[in-house]
């Protein structure tokens, strides 16, 4: 059993929860942070009882950029790894008509992530250890009519994570970019997602955990997504723009 801590930002999502449980199973203590901490308190009891690890529950708001430095400064003990799992999916039809929504989507998915990760990266760089897991999206790999505001914010995050990986390479800190593809969660219940392309949260947690152990740079939760995105990225624009994707 390790005495190390993992900080999970946006710990309320099903995928974050599953990943945190996987790390707890391996003996890591868990710091859960999110805007709504009520549910996190329930999850904390589960983590303590089931895995016998220690937990902390912390309020964190991705959009309160000014609070990020203090949030991390007050964090004790400092974690060995970060799972950044917050994000905002938005609704394309609504968001494209309203710049305040566009801003909120970008700020949650990109600016909020960059803001807190800069604080953490500085610390990890100085300590010369640690790992960072950022949850991006396949939606960021190519703009599509159905979700390009969310997609472009995630594209920004993917590029950001790639750059951070480059910078931290010499410090022994790995940055893992997760592009989940379809994951069956509370929010997707009722959508008819194709079985072969859809992972359960538990499977997602396992993939993320293993990718961290192996110090991977990029992981799609279902490997088939690597091939799907390869095709989508390379489709000529004059064909792509006629699709309904």
């Amino acid at each position: 059993m390790t005495q190390e801590w993992i900080l999970v930002l946006g710990a309320g999502s099903d995928m974050a929860r599953a990943a945190a449980r996987r790390f707890a199973r391996a003996g890591y203590n868990i710091q859960q942070a999110s805007r709504n901490t009520e549910e996190l308190d329930i999850e904390a009891r589960h983590l303590q009882l089931k895995y016998g690890v220690q937990t902390q529950t912390l309020p964190f708001d991705a959009l309160e950029f000014d609070s990020h430095a203090a949030f991390y400064a007050e964090l004790e003990p400092k974690p060995i790894g970060i799972l950044l799992a917050f994000g905002a999916l938005g609704e394309q039809a609504r968001d494209q008509k309203d710049v305040s929504w566009i801003r909120k989507i970008i700020d949650t998915n990109y600016t909020g992530a960059a803001s807190i990760l800069e604080v953490i990266a500085a610390d990890f760089e100085r300590r010369k250890r640690g790992f960072i897991v950022g949850t991006s999206s396949v939606a960021g790999d190519r703009g599509r009519q159905s979700n390009y505001i969310y997609g472009s914010a995630k594209a920004g995050l993917s590029t950001y994570l790639a750059g951070l990986r480059h910078r931290l390479h010499g410090s022994g800190v790995n940055v893992l970019t997760v592009k989940p593809g379809f994951v069956a969660t509370k929010m997707t219940t009722g959508l008819d997602l194709p079985d072969k392309l859809t992972a359960g949260p538990q499977e997602a947690g396992e993939r993320i955990y293993r990718a961290v152990q192996k110090e991977k740079h990029l992981v799609y939760i279902r490997p088939i997504w690597r091939w799907i995105m390869l095709i989508i990225i390379h489709m000529p624009e004059f064909i792509f723009k006629r699709t309904k994707l």
Binding site: E39, R45, L191
Partner: protein, 432 residues
């Protein structure tokens, strides 16, 4: 999306009512009526089916455990398998478990499930200390035998019709090992089977596989399986790897001659008299969980499990009549399960009563429902009833005849404003 129970009949179009926390659940209940909570989809028929359903599986947190008393508190969506994986290595096991570990705790309460030890340990509800229930208006009530006792007894066995079960507090039992000492007793007819059940009633676990297509003097021949925890042994537990049935089996595999052949071989395989061996928990309690979707062997149109119970006094004659009727039609099943039960509890709609129960699988085919109606008549004539967690087709009259507290259950629902809020296809069919 399409929603169905374990029997894959009926299949309906339904949409989920999802929620993040108790506050949002209360809001969803206020705006959506009627609906029904849905756990892991292991009830066979239509008791968890409704065009609006509340998926409960993500409420899967263990909350507290007292190693002095064995009292466990958890959310309603926790699977029994999770409890076994977590607590068996430290010597704790469920006091009551049905034949699958892939059900939620909420479902276990709602169907007031029972297991092979019913004659000694009663139903799942009998192991429950208290539960938290959200009513239609979003209020949360704690229910126990002392606090809101009527609601408690209506909720245990109430098929999700009294509200959304949020949390359950119930007792586990200490066990000395994760190994079961098993005895198999081969009987030649129904009379011998009954005698063997009575003779070995001091064994905590007992169940009989009955050859429902045996004829004449062999009618009711069975393999009675008894079990108890081995007094010493390892507590290690890892769930078995599951196999998958790749597709729906074609219908010819379930013609009467193939079922008869299977049953004969299964019966012949056991040595005569009594044999003893040691098996692990999964093999003893959950043999079917080893095949992750065994419900597909009944083909694409699905199946129903017909499970009835008869009071002891009428069990022999009633069972004989049912078995003769089935034998004549040749619509037998691979898995016919007979069991002796202990006394009934105080819950309004619980299935068990002191007597014998028989469970049979039938694939859906023309003529089946007519046969089942004839069986209903035999069951009612012998003062018996059918199990709601298995049912997809019984008539309101059959239900009323078997459940004397149905009317009291209805009144309670009406008085608490639950009648229009929580409904399943089953509750609508039965006028609950």
């Amino acid at each position: 999306m399409q929603l169905t129970g374990w029997g894959r009949y009926p299949i309906i179009e339904a949409s989920p009512v999802t929620f993040q926390d108790h506050r949002s659940l209360a809001a969803r209940l206020a705006e959506t009526k009627p609906l029904i909570p849905y756990g892991n989809g292991r009830s066979y028929g239509d008791s968890a089916l409704s065009s609006r359903f509340v998926p409960m599986r993500s409420r899967d947190r263990l909350l507290a455990f007292d190693p002095d008393s064995g009292l466990l508190t958890c959310e309603a969506g926790v699977l029994l398998s999770e409890i076994i994986e977590t607590f068996l290595p430290s010597g704790w096991f469920l006091k009551v478990t049905p034949g699958t570990r892939l059900i939620t705790v909420g479902g276990a309460v709602a169907a007031d499930v029972h297991g092979k030890n019913h004659h000694q340990a009663g139903c799942f509800g009998d192991t429950v200390e208290s539960l938290l229930l959200m009513l239609a208006d979003g209020r949360i009530r704690r229910c126990s035998r002392k606090e809101n006792p009527e609601l408690f007894h209506a909720t245990c066995g109430g098929m999700g019709l009294t509200g959304v079960i949020l949390q359950v507090e119930f007792y586990l039992q200490p066990v000395p090992s994760a190994i079961i000492e098993q005895a198999t007793i081969k009987t030649r007819n129904l009379k011998e089977t009954f005698e063997a059940f009575e003779k070995y009633a001091d064994w905590p676990y007992s169940v009989a596989w009955i050859d429902c297509l045996a004829r004449g003097a062999a009618l009711g021949r069975s393999l009675l399986m008894l079990g108890r925890f081995a007094p010493i042994g390892e507590l290690d537990y890892a769930p078995r790897r599951t196999k998958t049935i790749p597709c729906n089996f074609p219908g010819f595999l379930l013609k009467s001659y193939s079922v008869r052949a299977f049953n004969s071989v299964y019966y012949a395989r056991a040595r005569s008299g009594i044999s003893l061996n040691f098996v692990d928990i999964d093999a003893f309690f959950y043999p079917l969980d080893a095949i992750s979707n065994w419900n597909r062997i009944y083909g694409g149109s699905g199946f129903v499990q017909y499970q009835f119970i008869l009071p002891k006094k009428h069990s022999y004659t009633g069972l004989e009549q049912v078995l003769r009727k089935i034998m004549k039609t040749g619509k037998g099943s691979f898995l016919a399960v007979l069991k002796l039960y202990g006394p009934a509890n105080d819950n309004y709609l619980s299935f068990p009563m002191e007597g014998y129960s028989l469970a049979l699988d039938f694939k859906i085919e023309p003529g089946l429902f007519a046969l089942l109606e004839q069986l209903d008549e035999i069951v009612l004539k012998h003062k018996g009833r059918l199990y709601l967690a298995k049912d997809a087709r019984m008539s309101r009259d059959t239900f009323e005849g078997g459940y004397p507290q149905a009317e009291a259950f209805r009144s309670l629902r009406t008085s608490l404003g639950l009648a229009g809020a929580f409904n399943s296809l089953q509750s609508q069919r039965l006028g609950l």
